[in-house]
Every structure is written in structure tokens, then in C-alpha cells.
Symmetry: C2
Subunit: 451 residues, 2 copies
């Protein structure tokens, strides 16, 4: 029944029944996604795909975010390219219960298709479809978590196809039967192996998931049949791709009666593995403290970090050679926090990773695993030349956690940091204001005026 219950729920979802904190979470998710997409638009994973597939685009309808402001492709390709770009810096949002990056597959498909239609799509209609897709995606993800991820599936895209299908079905006002068939066509395209992590194909996953879901909804809209038990059947999605199947319970927990998953969505302040975030957060704080005391980075004698054991297991790279390796280095994370007081994509550029002052400071950083610490907690001790007392800092919960969420101001700063190098200051400002105002937009297709 899970597939049909989910389809019925999506069809019945109304903007008015979504609480304001949930629509606000949707706006924040969309806003963060646009910034990440613009920020990733010039990455080779995005540009190679554009080069390889340019000849296959139909008449252009949908904007490539972060292009020179006038590049449109068809909706199917916009979904792919924007989906890739949004994930390529590992800087997009995280549904912490499942580590799904939920907005990428759903928003990439939804925005591309909204732009391709002959009729306006209001902000509230867009938000309703976005919420429908993300709830579907996260609930089916929770139903198979953690086994599905442990066995090797990239859960962002395997669930993302389904989320995208639900969102586009909602946008197209498909009925419950069509929506169920769309879920089926999406579910049969199980895209994303974790083996691809560390390669371009990791960010291909949410892009392809966006296409899978968009394609599924378009086929179902014309009467294509799949299965109305695609998720829960004996040989359906959950049982084939996982040994855990809590679909009934998870689908029964959909909002408003149950819990809204999008309200649990977290935003990364730093473009690297989440386990490094407490260290960067703490070092950014120490940077501010040093500035206040007039201490230069060159005066640092030694840095010691006590961290959760997973930090060294996942990000123990001492001498990263480029930006990609630096994302897996807690030592680099500490260094940029201390040296620059920030951790944005700019601090992960190859030139910065290999800069002499960065390399020098990085060599002074020591880290020790302490199993008594939580994953989002750390302790830092910085010895400064000529000072007897070290600077110490305890980060209880890193910024970006649910306990210390990114404020709208921090999200804006993150957006601006990513967009200015691509769009320039003026266009970034306009785009930021437009995206924050999503709820009030009369026609989301007008995103072309600002991005």
C-alpha cells in the first residue's frame, strides 16, 4: 500500500496545510540549493557533461544556473546539469537522519520543468511540490536506512529519483494513479553506487536522479504504466535494494499528521565532510579571538585538536595535494579556519591548498581521537609563541547542526561567497533577494530575469 498511500498524500497536499516553519525550511533549502548550483556550475563535472551532451538538448526552455545568464537547455538537460552542479562541492544540504542531500534531485527536476511549461508556477505551488518531493524522498530513505546505504547505495540519488518524480507529478497535477505509476518508473531506476565517491560520477548521481524522476512523471502523465506497488512489493524498490523495509511506518508518518522531514534539513557552513565542521567552526572562533588579541597566525606554535574517532578515519589526510584531497583533511580544515577565519570553496582551491603559509601552518596541527566526544563536538588548544596560556575552545555542537542551525544571515553569506565569483556582485544581490522571496513570486519561471 505504501506507494499508493504516498501518491494519495502527494495529490492531496495543499500549501495551506503546510506549517509556516516548513515552507520556510523549503525556502531555505531552495535558497541554499541555488547558491550551491551556481557555485558548482563551472566545475569540470558540470562542464564536461555539458560539452558531452550539448547536441542532445531539445529546444531551450530552462536556465543553467550560473551560466553567463543566458544559457538555456531543455528541461531534461537542465535537470541533469543543475543537479550535478549543486552537489559537486559536497556543499549542499543534508537530511541528517539519512545523510540524503535532499534538495538536489528534487529542485533540479522541478525548477527545470516549471520553466518549461506554458503556464505560470507560483511560489506557493512550487514550494508545495518541493515539499512533496523532499518528504517522499526522505521518508523512503528512512524506510531503508541504514542498511541501504551500508550495502553501497548512494542514498541521495536512489531516493532522489522518487522524490523528483513526486515533485514533478505534483507540479503537473497528476492524479493519484498517475503519480503512483510515476513513482514506479522512478523506483525502477536505482541510480548511485558509493564506489563512485571521489569521482565526477558522485555528483552525476543527483543530476541523473533528477532526470529519472522528471522522465518518470512525464511518462506517467501520458499513461505509461509501471506498478502501483513499486516501493513495497516483494520484488519492489525497498526489498530489492535493502534488507530493511519500514515503508509502512515511514509513509504513515507523513505531515501534517506526522513529522515534516524538510524541517530537519541541515545546511553545511563548510564545503567538506561534515565531521570536519566542528574543527573549522572552532578554528574560525579562535581566529576571531586571535584577531581581537592582535595575534598573527605566524605566531602559532602548535595546535591540538581532540576529535571524534570518525574524524581521523574519514579525514585523516595530513598533506593533501589538491582541493579534493583537502576536503578529506581535518588538518586543512583547522588551518583555513585559523588562517582565514572561514571555510568557503575559495579555501579549497588547489592554489590555496598548496600555498606556503597554508602548508606551514597545516604541519603544526595535531589531532587525537577521543571516543568520549560526539561527532559534532571537539576541543581545541592553540599554543602561541611568547604566551604561557594557550587559547582553548570547546565546540559543543558545530554550526550547521540542528542544535546550532545556519541562520538566514549565514546562509546569505554562503550564497554570496559562492555566487559572486560566478555572477558578480550586482547579479548576486538580485538573485539572493529573488530566492529569499520565493514564497511571494507570482511565477517561478521568472527566475530567468535574475539568474
Amino acid at each position: 500500500m505504501a506507494t499508493q498511500v504516498l501518491a494519495n498524500w502527494a495529490v492531496g497536499l495543499k500549501y495551506a496545510s503546510i506549517p509556516q516553519e516548513v515552507t520556510q525550511a523549503a525556502v531555505r533549502s531552495f535558497y541554499n540549493w541555488v547558491g550551491c548550483t551556481v557555485g558548482g556550475s563551472a566545475h569540470p563535472a558540470t562542464t564536461i557533461a555539458r560539452t558531452a551532451l550539448a547536441r542532445f538538448s531539445g529546444p531551450p526552455t530552462s536556465r543553467l544556473l550560473g551560466s553567463d545568464g543566458s544559457v538555456d537547455v531543455d528541461a531534461m538537460h537542465a535537470a541533469l546539469f543543475n543537479g550535478i552542479a549543486s552537489h559537486v562541492h559536497d556543499y549542499d544540504d543534508t537530511h541528517l537522519d539519512t545523510i540524503i542531500h535532499p534538495t538536489g534531485p528534487v529542485a533540479a527536476a522541478l525548477l527545470a520543468m516549471a520553466e518549461a511549461r506554458d503556464q505560470p508556477c507560483s511560489g506557493p505551488d512550487f514550494i508545495t511540490a518541493l515539499v512533496a518531493g523532499i518528504e517522499a524522498e526522505c521518508k523512503v530513505g528512512k524506510a531503508v536506512w541504514p542498511d541501504h546505504y551500508d550495502v553501497g547505495w548512494h542514498i541521495t540519488s536512489t531516493t532522489g529519483s522518487i522524490g523528483a518524480a513526486v515533485a514533478v507529478s505534483k507540479l503537473l497535477s497528476l492524479n493519484a494513479s498517475q503519480t503512483a505509476h510515476a513513482i514506479g518508473v522512478a523506483a525502477t531506476q536505482v541510480t548511485g553506487l558509493r564506489e563512485m565517491f571521489g569521482s565526477h560520477t558522485k555528483s552525476f548521481h543527483p543530476g541523473r536522479a533528477a532526470q529519472n524522476g522528471l522522465l518518470a512523471a512525464l511518462l506517467a502523465a501520458e499513461g505509461y504504466t509501471s506498478s502501483e506497488q513499486a516501493l513495497e512489493a516483494k520484488r519492489g524498490w525497498a526489498n530489492v535494494a535493502s534488507t530493511i523495509n519500514n515503508l509502512d511506518a515511514e509513509i504513515a508518518s507523513l505531515g501534517p499528521a506526522g513529522r515534516w522531514e524538510i524541517a530537519q534539513n541541515a545546511f553545511k557552513p563548510f564545503p567538506c565532510g561534515i565531521v570536519v565542521h566542528p574543527i573549522i567552526d572552532g578554528c574560525v572562533g579562535i581566529h576571531a579571538e586571535m584577531k581581537k588579541q592582535g595575534i598573527a597566525a605566524a605566531q602559532i606554535e602548535e595546535v591540538h585538536a581532540d576529535v571524534h574517532p570518525l574524524v581521523l578515519e574519514l579525514t585523516g589526510k595530513k598533506t593533501p595535494k589538491d582541493g579534493l584531497e583537502a576536503k578529506f583533511s581535518v588538518y586543512h580544515g583547522a588551518t583555513i579556519g585559523l588562517l582565514f577565519g572561514k571555510g568557503t570553496p575559495a579555501q579549497y582551491e588547489d592554489a590555496v591548498v598548496n600555498d606556503a603559509s597554508v602548508v606551514a601552518l597545516r604541519s603544526l596541527i595535531k589531532a587525537t581521537a577521543d571516543p568520549s566526544l560526539r561527532a559534532d563536538e571537539c576541543r581545541l588548544t592553540v599554543k602561541v609563541k611568547g604566551q604561557s596560556a594557550p587559547i582553548v575552545k570547546h565546540v559543543d555542537h558545530a554550526v550547521g547542526s540542528l542544535e546550532v542551525p545556519m541562520t538566514d544571515a549565514l546562509l546569505t553569506e554562503k550564497f554570496v561567497d559562492q555566487c559572486i565569483p560566478v555572477l558578480g556582485e550586482k547579479r548576486t544581490e538580485t538573485a539572493s533577494a529573488w530566492c529569499w522571496g520565493l514564497e511571494k513570486q507570482a511565477d517561478v519561471r521568472r527566475i530567468k530575469d535574475v539568474l
Copy 2:
């Protein structure tokens, strides 16, 4: 190593090193595929997809087989639509060891891309790429068979993506590293749940697999990275989607040193589940016998079939209501063999299934499971009014098995039966001759002249 060994093998494969019986098997596979594709071109699963996705095609380069002879779309969509059409009647080829339908995903991608290029593709080059793709597909399929299928994966498409990627990589002359990355991008798109059997989505699978593989090769050609251990890694294709992983042994058994899988490819004489084939085969024989003796079908009093138990389990439907249900009816299979002396798609049309004389004869057919029979064996007894001795027939191996393969003449008959209703007699004849002559074609793109 399996991924890299496979990639190296594909790069090194030369037409001259492929034995003549293998290139001939490739021609037969291609020929049969073209006929099935034309035959399925007007099915709703194909036409709905065309309607839903027409707006997303780039500049047309590649022929939709069975269209009015002049409909081209871009290669990506030709791969999808031709892939769907080729499988929609369940009439395409079968690699019996794995029940993969191997040609659909591979040929659909390969032909579409060959047509889209600015340079000729000779028959031998086309055949070499086709063999590379089908060998890759069947070897990785054997490596995970039967567990992968048992758990619920539609093995035709899950392996088909990989086969299509290898074939297109070969066509594009990618190097070994690029080919390995193409295999990776294809492997991460694990498309096809058996839950979709009985719906349009079943035939969507080989179509989407063709697109997955084509996309993978095109991305890899431009430098997109995935994993060079995509098939064998701990969280790679085989281990994630199966509990069996015999990759090393299977990849080591590639031809010419090992066994050519395409030479094991079988062709269905009848457009229905393979377990019904012995009964239709036997009844076609009895039809001929009755004709010789001047006995009309109306004189039949009773028909008794002894069959393998699986026949009744899978195809026990006594009163099928339409063509789709009739495919799962051993009773209908026997009826059309006796009445028409053939089992082509025409005998599975709804009107025939509900025709009064068909319904009447069908009600006279009895079947009994006999565990001592093989799946491709049956015994038939037909009592005729006014005759004391019944007509009996024992089918040892059904036509279309490896023991009694479809002859070129039977393949031609099958091709013609499928193509005439779509192309008319003259175009069918030209197309048939062109396809049989594949090996001698100077430029496969010229398929446009005949199809």
C-alpha cells in the same frame, strides 16, 4: 581488476579475431532485433514514450525503426524508443544461461550513435562493437546469476547498461581508461526491477539501459571520471546488486580464448513466454499433419498436452481476455498452433484472442503437469471426431532452443511477419536483405535508406 580487464579486452578486440560463426551470430542477433523493433514500434509503450518526450529531442540524426520511414530523433531518444520497441512483445533474443535479452540495450545504443556520427561505420566495425557489448553484458550477467535475478533485478537492463557502454565506447574508439570509466558510469545506473513485469515499464528497461550506456560512453569520451573498479569493488556493481560475484572467472573467459556468449544466443519463434514454445511448436506440426490429412480444426474433439510443471505455474491462464493475458496461456498457445499453424504477434491480437472459433477450440484443450518432462519438451494428443486413433506428437526440444535453433529461413519469416504490417511488403523485403547483408555494408548509417 575485472573492470580494467574488460576494458582492455574491448579496446583490443579486432574483427579479424572474431570467428565467423560468431560474426554470423551477431548478424542474426541484429537481424532479429531489427524485426522485433519494427514489430514493437506501434505498441503503446513505445508511442506513449515518443509522445511524452518528443519535445526533448535534439537535432534529429537517428532513425526510429518502424516509423513511417522518415522519423528521426537524436541518438539519445532513438536509443530509448528503439530499445523499448524491441522488447515490448517479449519476442527478442535470449541468452539462455542468464535469460538476458542481450541485443536490445546494446544495438539500440550502438545503432543510434553510429547514425549520429560524422563518419561512416562499416558493417565489420559495427559488428565488432556489437559483439564487444553483448559479450560484456552476458559475462557480467553470468557473474551474478542467478542471485541477482532472483532478488528482483531485471538482468536484461542491469547488465544492458554496461553492454551498451562497452559497445559505444568501442564505436567511439575510446582508450582503455575511458572505457573503464564508461563502464563505471553505466554500472552506477542500476535500472530494472522485476516488479515492473506486466507493465509498460518492463520494455522501458532495455530502452533506458541503452540510454544509460550511451550517456556513459559519451561522458567518458570527454574525460568524465567514475571508478576503474566499478564492477568488482566492495561497494561496486556486483557486490551491491548481488550476493554472488564470479566476475574474475567470467571476465577471464572472454573470447577468443574463452567462450563467445553471443554464439549461445537463442531466438524466439513465438512472442510469448518460452515455456509455451514446445506446445506451440508441436501444435504447428499437428496443424500441418491435419492439413495433409484434410482434417479441419472444427473436427477436433479434445486436445491433451503433457507439459513441464512450470508451464502451468507460469502460463496456466485458461480464458485469457486480451493479447497480454494470452501470452500467459498455454491453452491459447496450443489453440493458435492448431488453428493457424503459426504463432506470430498477429495471433496475439485482442481480436484473435476473443474470436469465437479461437475461444471454442481453446476450451477443448487440457494440460497436465509431468515432472519427468524437460522445460523445452512436451507430448500432445489430439482426438479428432470420427477417427479412432488420435494424432500424437512428441516435441523433444522446441524450435528456438540451442538444440533446434531457428534457421535463417525461420528468422526471415519472423522478420517478415513483424515488418509487413508496419512497412509493407516491398520495404520489408529491402530491409530484410540489407540487414542480412550487415557484414558487407560500407556504412551502417545507410540503414536510413531502407528502414
